[in-house]
């Protein structure tokens, strides 16, 4: 029932057939230089409507910067971003963010925090409608019983779910998520990943999810865009064609894992490098920004059993 109404509110064409129309989001030749240092050196990729795409890259490679550029919070030094064919400066209504920290207003209850995005974006939505939608999306992230609680009394996972509900409630087609689960403990993280996949299936939003955790990308993504160290380029794009829910221990993920692990550890690899980036200087240095666990298991979790 709640999910049904969300679906209706989210619009009719939220789950287009994969590879249908032209991509919803196109990033081409995107470069960003600040203080003489080139952080992004020319990024190209695109995302189709309804897709769940993970951007995987070492810490400090410019993932947050990339999301800021896509949302129009920063101007690119080179190249461009197109959202539904237009500049993000004009298409800002098409995107909503979930950040690494929940960024909730301490003086607002959970429901009021969910309504904040709507208040900021569209003051013409009447108060009653805002609150109705806030409750609807709180229900979607299973926090309806926390609606009158202040953030100080919420757990980290609950706060991040409120932030997710706030981003969903503005009903923009694209969700930009910047390592939203990185600050949470292993169990909460696992729970929230599953919750996010459920929400994605129900609402049909397009999700661009940034992470430095290889296993997280493997569990979540339709496609994974692997970034290099700075100056950052796209190292590889892989499609993860394994049905969900996925278990990180699933042998079907193993080939992709070892491929990406080599990318992330900066190993110079010959085999299977479609984009030829491995030969580039600056991409080969090991160590900085390695994913946490040496085995590449992230938090060593098992996610498959529902």
């Amino acid at each position: 029932m709640p999910s049904g109404s969300v679906q209706a509110a989210a619009g009719p064409d939220r789950r287009p057939s994969p590879g249908g129309d032209r991509p919803l989001l196109v990033v081409s030749g995107l470069g960003f230089t600040v203080g003489g240092e080139t952080i992004l050196a020319g990024i190209d990729f695109s995302v189709d409507a309804g897709e769940f795409v993970c951007v995987l890259g070492p810490s400090g490679c410019g993932k947050t910067t990339l999301l800021r550029l896509i949302g129009g919070l920063l101007r690119p030094s080179r190249g461009e971003v197109r959202i539904a064919g237009a500049d993000p400066a004009r298409q800002w209504r098409q995107v909503a963010y979930v950040f690494q920290s929940a960024r909730l207003c301490g003086w607002r209850t959970a429901a009021q925090n969910v309504a904040l995005g709507l208040e900021l974006r569209d003051p013409s939505v009447p108060r009653a409608e805002r609150l109705r939608r806030a409750e609807e999306y709180l229900r979607l992230v299973q926090l309806e019983d926390r609606r009158d609680r202040y953030p100080a009394t919420l757990s980290g996972g609950e706060a991040q779910r409120v932030a997710l509900a706030r981003a969903l409630a503005v009903e923009s087609p694209i969700l930009l998520m910047d390592e939203p689960f990185a600050n949470l403990d292993v169990r909460t993280r696992r729970h929230l990943r599953r919750a996010l996949l459920d929400v994605w299936k129900i609402t049909g939003r397009t999700i661009l999810f940034v992470t430095h955790d290889l296993d997280e990308a493997l569990i979540l993504a339709d496609r994974i865009i692997v970034l290099s160290d700075r100056p950052t380029r796209v190292r590889r794009v892989v499609t993860v064609d394994v049905p969900r829910p996925r278990d990180p221990a699933d042998p079907a993920l193993e080939p992709i894992r070892s491929l990406l692990l080599a990318d992330l550890t900066g190993g110079r690899r010959a085999a299977g490098d479609e984009d030829g980036a491995a030969g580039e200087p600056g991409l080969t240095g090991a160590a900085p920004g390695l994913p946490a666990a040496p085995a590449g298991r992230g938090d060593g979790e098992r996610d498959g059993q529902p």
Binding site: G71, R108, A152
Partner: protein, 251 residues
Amino acid sequence: MRSLKQRLITESALIAGLAAWFLMSGRVPAYVLPDPLAVAGAAWDLLTDPALAVHTLASALRVVTALAAAMAAGTVLVLAAYYVPALRGLVNERLTPFFNAFPTLGWAILAVLWFGITDTGVIFVQAAILLPFVLITLWEGVSNLDAEMVEMARSFTRSEVRVLGKVIAPMLLPYAFAAVRMSYGVSWKIALIAEIFGTNRGLGYLMTLARSNFDSRMLFAAVLVVIVLVFAGDRFVFAPIQRRLTAWRAA
């Protein structure tokens, strides 16, 4: 909650002070130390007798007006410095130290020269003295603004007005309130000095009269009224508002 012991010390100091005053006043002439009961009676008159209460009311109105004027000017200047970085040096390194250093007596005399014996002059003096407190406190709030929260707000809208109203202003509110609370006390402290020079109404004016008539009872009564008003305002107006504003912290 405060312990009984703490409470006992607090109140016994007050009682001891009053007792000492009472005993002393019997031994010295009334113009040196008037009888506390007589002072209390005069203070009551200052609050209730219409002929005297107009003076109390005049001072109170000036205090409130000056406070509002200083808050308004301070808010405009601090927000201008926040939104226009080019103005930051001017506001924080020139205006604030200038107003902070300017002597009270200097403002009081200048106000008479510029405005004559008027309400405007007195309010100007008070506002000029309050302004640096407001500027410093509000700028403290601006420099402690959570940049991540501001970015969150801007990710939802391109309207700076809504970002200011929904996220920045609520984050500055505790600082604004601290500025008001502090300024209220300071404003009363300087109200009487400002009035000595430039007016013919108000508690400061009454005190000038009382001094030339050796009417110590009225002098003490005016001081008592100021103390009571500052104490009551803080205790019964500002403290409850602050508790309400920050209720979410404890919730």
